[in-house]
């Protein structure tokens, strides 16, 4: 009787084990969902798209190496059309879908509005590419982090370069877009703080067909260098064309916008010698390895924006790995504990980290100034903001 009961119990246990094994396997194969909010049709599309491609590449690479916690990661990509209100809606969609982390790659204002959802739902939220200075200060959201260089860091780096060249009298030029005006204002304030005199300040209106009148005034003021704060490509090209046509020789120090490689094709023959601020050092070993792998995978050359997305997903994966689970609280703690994370972005030796309760992770000394050489983005000529 006892034997029969034992046999039956063994059978039941074996059956249960046999049934449970695939369940356990299935559990381990359940993907870890990371939500991405990008802009595929709106104003941020030219920037958000390469960042998204970098993120997708990183996820593929991580999964090829066995995933995170033995599970593959799955990116759920949603389009907010560059509209802040839709960004918040998409954040809710991702939370409903079970995303353990939201990664925002759209406009800074869209990311800010999505933060109202991450704060309310206590969902880890992160942007690897937004440069808005107030994203981590305007909302007291302990669930949000930012790892891209802040706008203020690019100004500080460019100013550090100007100080190193002992510039005393400079000119400033921009265009009429809101961001262009804002960048010019940051430049102006930083120049004044550093007691560098602005001898001429010009604005090229949107839709202009030439920037020669503005450049002639700048030539008349005879500055030692020209700070270019424009962020709209057609107007920036007009400025460069006028600069060349008038045969001006003073060095140009350009904003972060000139680090987008579109200029190599739309401003051919106008770029040599222009210095611009960037967060990508092609000579950095990690950047070299990334460029090679990306080129091999997609057949195209990556640039700084791809690197942001790539680093972003690796940072998130690292936090989940250290959290040891997909529990949102644990991921939040692990994300905040990030220190010395080595990515592909930044100057050689710079790392990401959220020390002292900060939620901005880019090394404040990690930006570089590069120069265009033969119409291509060339070597680093200056590092850091000190």
């Amino acid at each position: 009787m006892l034997n029969r009961a034992l046999t039956a119990a063994t059978l039941v246990a074996s059956l249960a084990l046999a049934c449970a094994a695939p369940l356990a396997t299935a559990q381990s194969q359940t993907p870890i969902r990371i939500g991405i909010i990008t802009d595929r049709v709106g104003p941020a599309k030219p920037y958000a798209e390469p960042v998204t491609l970098g993120a997708v590449f990183a996820a593929r690479e991580i999964n090829a190496k066995g995933g995170v916690l033995g599970r593959p990661i799955e990116l759920q990509i949603e389009d907010d059309q560059g509209r802040p209100d839709i960004s918040a809606t998409m954040a809710r969609k991702l939370v409903d879908a079970g995303a353990v982390m939201i990664v925002s790659l759209s406009l800074s204002t869209a990311t800010q509005q999505a933060q109202t959802v991450s704060l309310e739902t206590k969902t880890p939220h992160f942007t690897p590419s937004n440069s808005g200075d107030t994203l981590t200060t305007q909302i007291a959201n302990p669930w949000f982090w930012q790892s891209g260089p802040l706008g203020s860091a690019q100004v500080a780096t460019l100013l550090s370069y100007a100080r190193a060249r002992n510039l005393k009298r400079v000119a400033l030029i921009t265009e009429t877009s809101a961001l262009g005006q804002m960048t010019a204002r940051s430049f102006r304030e930083a120049l004044q703080r550093n007691q560098i005199e602005i001898v001429a300040e010009e604005v090229v209106p949107g839709g202009a067909t030439t920037a020669e009148p503005q450049m002639q005034k700048i030539r008349a003021a005879n500055p030692e260098a020209l700070f270019m704060a424009g962020v709209v490509t057609p107007e920036n090209v007009l400025m460069l064309r006028a600069y060349r046509q008038l045969g001006l020789k003073m060095p140009i120090l350009a904003s972060y916008n000139m680090s987008v490689p579109v200029y190599s094709s739309v401003a051919k023959g106008l770029l040599d010698g222009i210095a611009f601020v960037d967060a990508f050092d092609p000579a950095r070993p990690e950047a070299k390895r990334f460029s090679e792998a990306f080129r091999k995978d997609s057949g195209t050359e990556p640039y700084n924006l791809h690197g942001y997305g790539y680093d972003g997903i690796y940072l998130v994966a690292d936090a989940i790995r250290r959290a040891g689970s997909t529990d949102k609280d644990k991921i939040r703690e692990a994300m905040q504990a990030t220190r010395g994370f080595v990515g592909v972005m930044g100057a050689q030796g710079s790392t990401y980290g959220f020390a002292d309760g900060r939620r901005t992770g880019f090394d404040t000394n990690g930006m570089v100034v590069r120069v265009y050489e033969q119409d291509q983005q060339g070597r680093v000529v200056h590092t850091g903001s000190r």
Partner: protein
């Protein structure tokens, strides 16, 4: 009595939907209702009064920013802040509308376009008052009579706004003023000959609809508890115009259909065809304008099986 009961039933049904949906669908539902409220008031301005103005979304922004600034920075109680916000919208609308009555058609569109641009510049350059390019955030709706209006309760507030806008505009449309607006739209000279004060009619229509847009903006301000310049950009002013045209200019039900179709289109199509939904949007716009200038409601009116 019957219409009161009908309104109560509509409010009950639309509010009940808010209690049944999950967070994501509730968010879409609320924002759709706000677009409908805006489309209804813009339909009166553009479709009934015949004014091609691009400032309607600007007043939505004025209302949103006004309530936030008045509540959080000036410390006014909510009812007083809401009243002051509406007064501000009306005063601003009068300041724009009185000189603008000299303008017509294309020139009115340009003048209001300039106002819309100016508003965005003001928001970006407004310093601590407007929060600059980052806007205002980290605020919340004060309790009303000890009640916290959040979650599905706030959906009820939005439903009340839409119903109020619908009923008010339907009443006005059927009144002498509505007929005066249509007469001015169709032929200002003939309207004047019939004794209608054309300028006054235009100013009142503009101020009334702008105040309604401002009211909708006030309600929007507490949906995500954040306001920023891109939300009130020109793209949305054009989207609003397309909503009214697609649905059927001059028709309230058309505005509801237009707003619903154009707002939901990206959500429905994105999972199926990705970002090509923008292309579908363009094709739909072209088809409607070329094939049925009276919009989607015109399709129903022109149905072949219609009894003659």
């Amino acid at each position: 009595m019957k219409s009161l009961l009908q309104a109560a039933l509509v409010i009950a049904i639309l509010s009940a939907i808010g209690f049944l949906l999950g967070p994501y669908h509730t968010d879409i539902y609320r924002k759709l209702l706000l677009w409908i409220a805006l489309a209804l008031s813009y339909n009166f301005l553009f479709g009934v009064a015949g004014q091609v103005a691009f400032s309607h979304f600007t007043f939505y922004g004025v209302g949103a920013y006004a309530i936030v600034i008045l509540v959080t920075q000036a410390g006014l109680p909510l009812p007083l802040a809401a009243t002051a916000g509406i007064v501000l919208c009306v005063l601003l609308a009068l300041a724009v509308a009185i000189p603008a009555t000299r303008l017509d058609g294309f020139y009115l569109a340009l003048a209001t376009l300039a106002l819309a641009q100016l508003f965005i510049v003001f928001l970006n350059e407004g310093g601590e008052l407007t929060g600059g390019s980052g806007g205002l955030t980290s605020y919340r709706l004060p309790d009303v009579g000890g009640i916290t209006l959040s979650g599905p309760r706030y959906t009820v507030v939005i439903v009340l706004l839409v119903t109020f806008t619908w009923i008010l505009l339907a009443r006005i449309d059927q009144s002498w003023f509505g007929r005066a607006c249509r007469a001015v739209r169709d032929n200002p000279q003939a309207a004047a000959a019939m004794g209608i004060d054309v300028a006054r009619t235009r100013v009142i229509a503009y101020a009334l609809t702008s105040a309604l847009a401002g009211l909708a903006g006030m309600v929007y301000a507490f949906v995500d508890n954040t306001v920023s310049p891109p939300i009130f950009g020109l793209e949305n002013a054009f989207l609003l115009l397309f909503m009214v045209i697609i649905g059927g200019s001059g028709s309230q039900i058309g505005s509801v259909i237009g707003a619903t179709v154009l707002y939901l289109l990206p959500f429905v199509l994105s999972p199926l065809i990705g970002h090509h939904h923008a292309l579908v949007f363009g094709v739909v716009m072209l088809l409607v304008i070329l094939a049925q200038p009276r919009g989607l409601t015109g399709l129903w009116a022109a149905r072949p099986w219609r009894s003659r």
